[in-house]
Symmetry: C2
Subunit: 357 residues, 2 copies
């Protein structure tokens, strides 16, 4: 069933039927009624969305690009909050939200064709590595695009936080408490799935801007306190799950110079660190201080000291920016949303000053 068939049935032009649906005020009430009635009778459900999109050159859909398999997003509380904020804005603007499927290639990267095949008016790109081909493909489409968290690119509207500053503040907190022996548990520095200690080269060369920034923040605070960064082991996990943090902490805590404090680049990892500590008979915060990032784990025991950021607001801001772009309005300067260090029960002064060697 198509517009034309309905039109034929009634002896009117297709345009008139189209108008019945799109500009009801442009035809007489009587005719409009007859059209809807005929449509009903013949089982026509209104203009076909695809034909309509082709002609109007817009889809009223926003695409979401995620660097991992889609289903991981629903496992990550930060991503879920982000989507909540984003969806509330897009729905308010009567836009659909398309979760773009991108099969993962062998390299860990995602199939860039996904971005080319998505019938959307614009993209929201969530947390990708610097040179992700999927991102390049999306930007290549020339559609309005907002990047969230990473990578910040010249000329591309961006939403994120000051990761370096926040990380520095987190490390500063531990330093103030008197800690001198640190370990870092980080999520991926690059999307190659590596797991293990990351040397400074790998740290600086990280393909994930957020990882790079947070490590830099930790480092600058540590060095500002006169301590050598070389004394800090950075354990890289290939993702951000508690089990990965658990393994990482296991490695760090069994090294010969055991840290008295562990900085984690996510709460999920920090949760794993807590579990590892418990397993090793270390009590937190007495024997070990732990700091998370994101503030998405309200139920942790002990409650996590962490860097709070408003993920929902991030989604909502990204949504508002994209909606403005779609409407052809100007978009305000890239803004960094605020973060706040929330001190809870997982950090305390070290039991003793760290011995000199």
């Amino acid at each position: 069933m198509t517009l034309a068939r309905i039109a034929g049935e009634l002896g009117v032009s297709a345009m008139t039927v189209s108008n019945a649906y799109n500009r009801p005020d442009r035809l007489s009430g009587a005719l409009r009624e007859r059209i809807f009635e005929t449509a009903d009778r013949l089982g026509y459900n209104g203009p076909d969305p695809v034909g309509r999109s082709l002609r109007r050159q817009r889809t009223d859909v926003v695409g979401v690009l995620y660097s991992n398999p889609l289903s991981y997003a629903f496992d990550d509380p930060a991503a879920v909050s982000f989507l909540r904020g984003l969806s509330s804005v897009t729905e308010g603007a009567d836009l659909g939200l398309l979760l773009v499927p991108a099969a993962s290639g062998a390299s860990g990267g995602r199939d860039p064709r996904a971005a080319a095949q998505a019938a959307v008016d614009g993209f929201v790109v969530y947390s990708m590595s610097d040179e992700e081909p999927l991102l390049t493909a999306a930007l290549g489409r020339g559609l309005p695009t907002v990047v969230v968290d990473q990578p910040a690119r010249q000329g591309v509207p961006f939403v994120g936080v000051d990761d370096e500053g926040a990380a520095s503040e987190a490390a500063g907190h531990l330093l103030e408490l008197g800690h001198e022996g640190f370990g870092v548990v980080s999520f991926a520095l690059s999307p190659d799935g590596r797991e293990g200690i990351a040397d400074p080269g790998r740290q600086e060369g990280a393909a994930f801007q957020v990882s790079r920034s947070r490590l830099r923040g930790y480092r600058s605070a540590v060095e500002a306190a006169g301590l050598p960064w070389s004394g800090v082991s950075v354990f890289e996990c290939p993702g951000s799950a508690a089990t990965l943090g658990h393994r990482a902490a296991g490695a760090l805590l069994s090294s010969k110079r055991r840290p008295t404090a562990i900085l984690s680049t996510s709460d999920q990892l920090a949760l794993g660190v807590l579990a590892a500590a418990e397993e090793l008979g270390l009590s937190v915060p007495e024997d070990l201080s732990v700091v998370g990032f994101d503030d998405v784990s309200p139920g942790a025991v002990p409650p996590l000291t962490t860097v709070r950021q408003d993920h929902e607001e991030k989604g909502s801001l990204a949504g508002r920016m994209l909606v403005s772009l779609l409407r052809g309005e100007d978009v305000p300067e890239p803004r960094r949303l605020p973060t706040r260090l929330v001190v809870r029960g997982s950090t305390a002064p070290p039991r003793w000053p760290v011995p000199a060697s």
Copy 2:
């Protein structure tokens, strides 16, 4: 930039350019290379998704219809798990997932036009009321559709659980413990936003099949134990948030015949009940037993006795069914997924037998 322009530039037919992208084996490697190179040079990103969908009569997108504003879905752990399961299957089949925006009308129902406007190959409908116009509109499209949780409709592929049986089991557990005074905290019976005690008429007339079934399950167990259902107050909340459960429990627990046990149709509501009990100085489970539904609140204190169901599997099954339908394969009989009563710390025998009056 279009196929035709690239074709013109090279002096070949549009079809050949199309084939370069869709059936690379149908043209010589040399020409293919020239085409890609020209496309690159002119900034062509491959076939336009909308034109392509129009011609092929498919979009490779699955629409998700939700009975509440979309952003609520990301607040509901059951819905999030469901989406995780669903998205893993759709992504595996290289299908996009379109979260369909449906502005809420005054009646609380959602704008049915949303279903007509969505450019999708099929729908997954998540937990809707019996006569929701949005659902009718979706089914009217004649696209492959799978309904999840409710409403089960003759001839429409369905995924859900045996709510009545599970609820009956939950109530049975309390009866076995010796409880005789019950209260029920239920999420919406009908989408009209009512809050307060629901009489048996409203219970039976509920527009949400799941609500109806769970209440029936509670009731059948209570009556099977020889107790009158009229003695059980059912407090209806307009949604499923902890704050609503809190208010509901406040009302039930301050009535003159205070229940010794409260059955909640969701964990979220049960969490509110726990909060209300604490506020009133009642300890759980000593003074009050509480049972949830869904098993999505691992962190509750005390840990909730609840009905466990596998939301992720539900999403994944719905996805598999829809994918089969899209491929024109047969879909197995509507199946009810299993549930299991998980007894934890929120239920115990009543402190004393309920006094006769």
